[in-house]
């Protein structure tokens, strides 16, 4: 049945798709126009709801005319990268260790529950106070908000490893390290990747909160400053920038996920299958030549 439906969609679908896209664009333009009109007629307070045209102008200004957003973007994304990398390495590593060790897991469990219930971003002021203003405390905050999702996901991935496969590995005489490398981690990869996706999103939120509090530089500070100066159009332009970044992160992680957990998707299976067949053939030829 499913095949039939796909077939139908493939044959008769093109004009339908075009029509739907047209409707999408139509709805979007209508909304924007109404908004613009509302601003123009003074129904919306420009101080609070800037007109779309004003936002576009701000885009031009902060990206090209003044070009001031680049520096802040560079600062913020650099922090996100550093904090995310450190936090996820720590999370995955600790998750694997704790997952493999029943005793540690048992004693850690209450702390994990407490940590899970605490809004982790709430520690931000504390970390800033303890580590001082500057990049270090910001990275620490990002690390902290990033750490949890990979940790929990790795942990549950490791715990929920397939029992039959585990027994198979044991019956083949695999060592603990071999079990981890050849069975547990590969099997947990999709779950870990899901954790990494969450972590990267949290990292973006984390850097914003850190910059809201420290108010020195970065995209969060920029949004705060623009809003304080009631330059709402520019604040919106910054937020739309973050939407774009968020979207790129989302798509990028999806791509990465498909690439790493290749056995979970058809294209990945074909790609890796072809590659391995080729490698195998090359090795065979090398052997017969020798």
């Amino acid at each position: 049945m499913a095949d039939v439906v796909t077939q139908m969609a493939a044959t008769g679908g093109k004009s339908l798709r075009q029509r739907q896209n047209a409707t999408h664009i139509g709805i979007f333009l209508t909304l924007i126009l109404l908004w613009e009109l509302g601003a123009l007629m003074g129904w919306l307070d420009p101080l609070f709801f800037p007109a779309p045209s004003a936002i576009l102008t701000s885009f031009w200004r902060i990206y090209f005319a003044q070009g001031n957003i680049w520096y802040h973007l560079y600062v913020s994304l650099g922090l996100v990268f550093a904090g995310f990398t450190a936090g996820s390495i720590l999370g995955i590593g600790l998750g694997a260790v704790v997952g493999m060790n029943g005793l540690v897991r048992r004693f850690l469990q209450p702390y994990v529950i407490v940590l899970e219930a605490t809004p982790r971003i709430a520690v931000a002021p504390l970390l800033i106070a303890a580590l001082g203003f500057g990049a270090t405390s910001k990275i620490a905050i990002i690390m902290l908000v990033c750490f949890f999702a990979p940790f929990i996901n790795t942990l549950s991935g490791v715990i929920n490893v397939d029992r039959d496969r585990m027994e198979l590995m044991r019956s083949l005489g695999a060592s603990k390290l071999q079990v981890l490398r050849k069975l547990v981690l590969p099997e947990a990869v999709p779950v870990i990747m899901a954790g990494e996706r969450l972590a990267l999103t949290s990292a973006l939120s984390g850097v914003l909160v850190a910059e809201f509090i420290q108010r020195d530089q970065g995209i969060g500070t920029l949004i705060l400053t623009y809003t304080r100066n009631l330059n709402m159009a520019s604040a919106f332009a910054c937020i739309l920038t973050l939407t774009l970044i968020g979207f790129l992160i989302f798509k990028g992680m999806e791509k990465l996920d498909h690439h790493i957990a290749y056995w979970k998707n058809e294209a990945g299976l074909r790609r890796v299958g072809a590659k391995r067949a080729q490698a195998w053939a090359t090795a065979q030829r090398g052997q017969s030549n020798a």
Binding site: I27, F48, E116, P119, A122, L126, A129, T227, G246
Partner: protein, 279 residues
């Protein structure tokens, strides 16, 4: 992943945990006392205890802030969840609605909701309104997407079965789709509630006059780490309170996912049936 009741109500299992906690705190106290750790960065456990005692018992100044933040998170959650569920139900009932509305929901999802903090404060002011608004905005998406996914997952066999029984579209929705969606919806509500608390606290950091977030900032910037940590505890308590409330509701509503609850419901229904038969 964890069964919280196991360790809350089982003294035999709690004791080793307590022993470890006391040992760790002792080690910490000793490390700070011996001067190997900076007291400003890491306060002594005894100092934290004293701060907790002061904030929660002698002065009791935390409670006002505690309830403000709790109220902000809960109201924000209720608004966010209400809108999310309404939109998810509409989307699941109308293909067109879903097609033309869900792209905007996706845009909202990839935007870090936290980024809206300054703007929402500008819109809704320094009081509780802005905190509720931010909580509502950032808890919206997990609830929306989980509810929609739940409502959209269809089991062709069961749908056919309902059709062969002559069920109306409404019956298919209320008797089949909605109950089948409940487990996922509750998973979304749980995430959403935690997220709502984050929203309330972050908005308090940015600009507020009351709430545990404000208290936290004040103590931190006065470098009063012990009181900061004592305040953090109140956030954990709010978090736990919200989490277990949701867990309890989940347990009641989605009873067929848990063996113990299932047996209880099964007994209750048998009794109700028997008393119905008597009448």
């Amino acid at each position: 992943m964890h069964e919280p009741r196991d360790f809350l109500f089982w003294p035999a299992r709690v004791l080793p945990h307590l022993a470890l906690l006391v040992a760790l705190l002792g080690l910490w106290e000793w490390a700070v006392a011996s001067g190997s750790v900076d007291t400003i960065m890491v306060p002594r456990p005894s100092a934290i205890m004293a701060a907790i005692f002061e904030l929660y018992v002698t002065k009791g100044s935390i409670y006002q802030h505690f309830f403000i933040t709790l109220a902000e998170a809960v109201f924000g959650f209720l608004i966010g969840a209400g809108v999310a569920i309404a939109l998810a139900v509409s989307s699941s009932l109308s293909e067109n609605f879903e097609r033309y509305v869900s792209p905007y929901a996706v845009v909202l999802n990839v935007t870090p909701g936290i980024a809206l903090t300054p703007i929402i404060i500008a819109w809704f002011g320094y009081g509780m309104g802005s905190k509720i608004a931010l909580a509502a905005v950032i808890c919206f998406f997990p609830i929306f997407v989980n509810t929609l996914t739940g409502l959209r997952q269809t089991d062709p066999d069961r749908e056919e079965l309902f059709r062969s029984f002559g069920a109306s579209r409404r019956q298919v929705f209320t008797q089949l789709r909605v109950p089948a969606a409940l487990p996922l919806m509750f998973a979304g509500l749980k995430i959403g509630l935690t997220t709502a608390l984050i929203g309330a606290v972050v908005a308090e950091f940015a600009q507020a006059t009351a709430g545990v977030g404000v208290l936290m900032s004040r103590f931190s910037f006065a470098l009063d780490m012990a009181s900061s940590l004592a305040t953090l505890l109140s956030m954990t308590l709010i978090g736990l309170l919200l989490f277990y409330t949701m867990e309890f509701l989940d347990d009641r509503v989605v009873f067929w996912r848990r063996d113990a609850r299932m047996s209880a419901v099964s007994r209750a229904r048998a009794r109700a049936w028997a008393s119905g038969a008597e009448k």
